[in-house]
């Protein structure tokens, strides 16, 4: 048990280190944008009619702490970031944590739902495909997997919208109906959300499903040929029981491990799909922040949050795997 705690602690430290490296990258990127917050604040004041001088800018810099050395500012940024505090966006002039708040959790839930959908499809279908010799099934799965790669989610979203507009006259965009947009949470609002959210969930899960299918099938066909499966079959285990209790359990490890990368893939598609489907969640906000207004604080916060969710998921799967898989558990607790 002590060993297990040590394993969890090591993993947690590793996750923290990853996040710190990422935060350094993100923070340096934010710094690279020409012009800082002080200049922007005063440029805004300038448009309000008051004249500004170089001294004003220097004063504002001192007030915002921008005159500190790079490492100091990075340090304070990361300490705040771990507490969920990202300061103010100097373009929108609002607190970033307040601005993101619900939107971030909503997009994260949508992404996790797509991930769940992807694996809910991929695991059973992949296992069945690996076990069967049906050439038609295997070939069609191969084509679907390749399409998942060749047809990026945003093209899929465009195509679905194209068909929806041509045949149903409805673009299927947005997350809420108009009457629910600003309403407080209720069951009615939840159902309304669900009736809109299935499309983004499906589209975001699309390429992840294709990849997961490929992974599950490959792992299963590797395992099915092994001797312990033959031995189990010789003992009289057959059918679904044979498949699920023997090779499927062995193939589980790498599949659980691939969860983090699939979430990464889904986040990749999120901003663009959000733009096409007019979802005003964190993804679309990222494009807004970058493409329209060059708002580096907001963009940095979003990228950091996305990465933090992936790192957290990776940490969770590592621990989960240690709990689930006796081989991994044995190797830790020696």
């Amino acid at each position: 048990m002590l060993n297990f705690a040590r394993f969890v602690a090591t993993r947690a430290v590793m996750a923290m280190i990853t996040l710190i490296i990422v935060s350094l990258v993100v923070f340096s990127l934010m710094e690279l944008v020409p012009g800082d917050c002080a200049e922007r604040y005063l440029a805004f004041k300038n448009t309000q009619g008051s004249g500004i001088s170089v001294e004003d800018i220097e004063q504002e810099r001192a007030r915002l702490g921008l005159d500190q050395p790079f490492l100091t500012r990075w340090g304070s940024w990361i300490v705040n970031a771990f507490q969920g505090e990202f300061g103010d966006s100097c373009i929108l002039r609002v607190n970033i944590a307040d601005l993101l708040g619900d939107k971030f959790w909503l997009s994260l839930s949508i992404c996790l739902a797509s991930l769940a959908l992807a694996y809910a499809i991929a695991i059973p279908v992949g296992i069945i495909a690996a076990a069967s010799n049906n050439a038609f099934l295997n070939n069609s799965l191969r084509i679907v997997s390749y399409l998942g790669l060749a047809m990026p989610n945003f093209l899929l979203a465009l195509m679905i919208m194209l068909f929806a507009t041509v045949y149903f006259g409805n673009t299927l965009t947005g997350l809420y109906s108009d009457e629910f947009r600003d309403a407080p949470w209720s069951w009615a609002k939840f159902w309304d959300l669900m009736s809109h959210a299935w499309l983004p969930i499906f589209i975001l899960g699309w390429s992840a499903t294709a990849f997961a299918l490929q992974t599950v099938r490959a792992l299963m066909s590797d395992e099915i040929g092994k001797l312990y499966v033959t031995a189990a079959a010789a003992r009289g285990v057959h059918g679904r029981k044979l498949l699920w209790n023997y090779p499927a359990r062995h193939a589980l490890g790498p599949i659980v491990n691939s969860l983090g990368f699939d979430l990464n893939r889904i986040f990749n598609e999120l901003p663009i799909v959000a733009l096409i489907l007019v979802l005003t969640d964190a993804g679309a906000l990222l494009i807004e922040a970058l493409a329209r207004s060059n708002d580096q604080q907001l963009a940095g916060a979003i990228i950091f949050l996305l990465t933090a969710s992936i790192v957290t998921l990776n940490f969770a799967t590592d621990v989960l795997l240690a709990v689930l898989d006796p081989r991994v558990r044995k190797s830790i607790i020696r």
């Binding site: 280190i17 990853t18 490296i21 990422v22 990258v25 993100v26 990127l29 690279l32 944008v33 020409p34 390749y146 399409l147 790669l149 060749a150 047809m151 990026p152 945003f154 093209l155 465009l158 195509m159 919208m161 194209l162 507009t165 041509v166 673009t171 983090g260 990464n264 986040f267 990749n268 598609e269 999120l270 901003p271 663009i272 733009l275 096409i276 990222l286 494009i287 970058l290 493409a291 060059n294 580096q296 963009a299 940095g300 979003i302 990228i303 996305l306 990465t307 992936i310 790192v311 990776n314």
Partner: protein, 386 residues
């Protein structure tokens, strides 16, 4: 191969078999790979498709009837439907393909709006190798002949966009743009991966640990949001060419971690082999060992990895251009062309905006199949399963 004995000891082999066997044993690595690659139907078809696409990309200025930029626009046929050459119409058949003339008018009857009508009684015949817009093949060979055109007016195989630019011409040029961006991006990523993965895999130990940690951290950041963040720094006053190189550069700088990991894994397994030890004992420097002994041992794997990572570069560029952070208008690129396609107006009325998508799916699929085929062909142990 089931038998490894000398062919001369097996007298029952016919001379043809013997020749085949000799050819097998004396074949070079690349000949073996090619022989295995040829056996895979899907990969061969994909290779042909890929070849056709690459050639049509390279010769895009010649193959496309018009200039892809605003200079080649047909201002009388904006948002025009595709014109398909035909041999027959209600007035009979001819040997030469033709299209029907397009007339544009604005009068009382049309409520003073421009209305385009097709006059089915007037035929415009296609011509081959007509003189058209000037272009520079490969960037320096000047020319003004195009593969096809029409006697007068314009022909738009895939229709036109809202500025009257020919979508067919733009598609071919966009294929070329994608290939260029992908090549530069893959090349930069490859050089970085080789250096970083090479150092990491060759030296191992704590250096490897640190480099792996950084690589993994970079890999956890979702790539496209990161692309967006980096691309947003491009000053808006950049020229199209500068933008193009900047985008390729970003793609390369963000795409290296996966490749670097593969290089490292290859190196880690190879560096404990005897031939490396022999070279080291002879006093070879590390860089010499890496370049002359280790890299050649897995060149084929690296080529496969490059082919496989190519479509990701192309797709990332498309996504970036699509949201307006990548290439900008004078350059033809799928992302740029699709920017205008999201409006309901286009979706309902001008579906031919989406024709280029098919080309890109074909391009990406071809790369994926060729990459898969190459991977199987480059693996000397794959024959056991065949």
């Amino acid at each position: 191969m089931t038998t490894t004995s000398d062919p001369t000891e097996v007298p029952q082999l016919s001379t043809e078999d013997q020749k085949a066997k000799e050819a097998y044993f004396t074949a070079s690595q690349s000949q073996l790979i090619w022989a295995r690659f040829k056996k895979q139907r899907a990969a061969m078809i994909a290779a042909i498709v890929l070849f056709v696409l690459i050639v049509s990309g390279i010769f895009a200025p010649f193959l496309s009837p018009y200039d892809p930029t605003i200079a080649g626009r047909n201002k009388d046929y904006t948002n025009g439907a595709p014109q398909i050459p035909q041999f027959c119409d209600k007035n009979g058949c001819t040997m030469r393909p033709f299209i029907h003339a397009v007339e544009r008018e604005r009068s009382m009857a049309t409520n003073f709006r421009w209305v385009t009508t097709i006059n089915e009684d007037v035929r415009v015949y296609m011509t081959f190798l007509p003189k058209g817009d000037d272009y520079h093949l490969f960037g320096f060979i000047p020319g003004d002949r195009h593969l096809f055109g029409v006697e007068e007016g314009f022909i738009h195989l895939f229709g036109t966009d809202e500025d009257g630019q020919d979508i067919f011409s733009r598609t071919l040029h966009a294929v070329w743009t994608s290939l260029q961006v992908g090549t530069i991006g893959v090349f930069i990523a490859f050089v970085l991966a080789l250096i970083i993965g090479g150092v990491s895999g060759y030296y191992g130990g704590w250096l490897d640990g640190v480099i792996q940690m950084i690589t993994d951290a970079v890999r956890t950041v979702p790539a496209i949001p990161l692309f967006m963040a980096v691309a947003a720094f491009m000053p808006p006053e950049m020229t199209a060419e500068e933008r193009f190189f900047y985008i390729s550069l970003i793609l390369g700088f963000i795409g290296w971690p996966t490749l670097a990991r593969r290089v490292r894994t290859h190196l880690l397994t190879e560096r404990n082999q005897e031939y490396v030890l022999a070279a080291q004992l002879c006093g070879a420097s590390p860089s010499h060992v890496i370049r002359r002994h280790l890299l050649p041992s897995f060149t084929s794997y690296i080529i496969v990895d490059l082919v496989i990572s190519f479509p990701y570069m192309v797709l990332s560029e498309t996504a970036l251009s699509f949201i307006g952070l990548g290439l900008k208008d004078p350059v033809s690129s799928l992302g740029v062309m699709l920017q205008k396609a999201t409006s309901a107006d286009v979706m309902l009325n001008y579906q031919w905006y989406f024709i280029p998508v098919l080309f890109f799916i074909a391009l990406v699929m071809a790369f994926v199949f060729v990459g898969d085929g190459l991977r199987d062909a480059a693996d000397p142990y794959s024959e056991a399963n065949k």
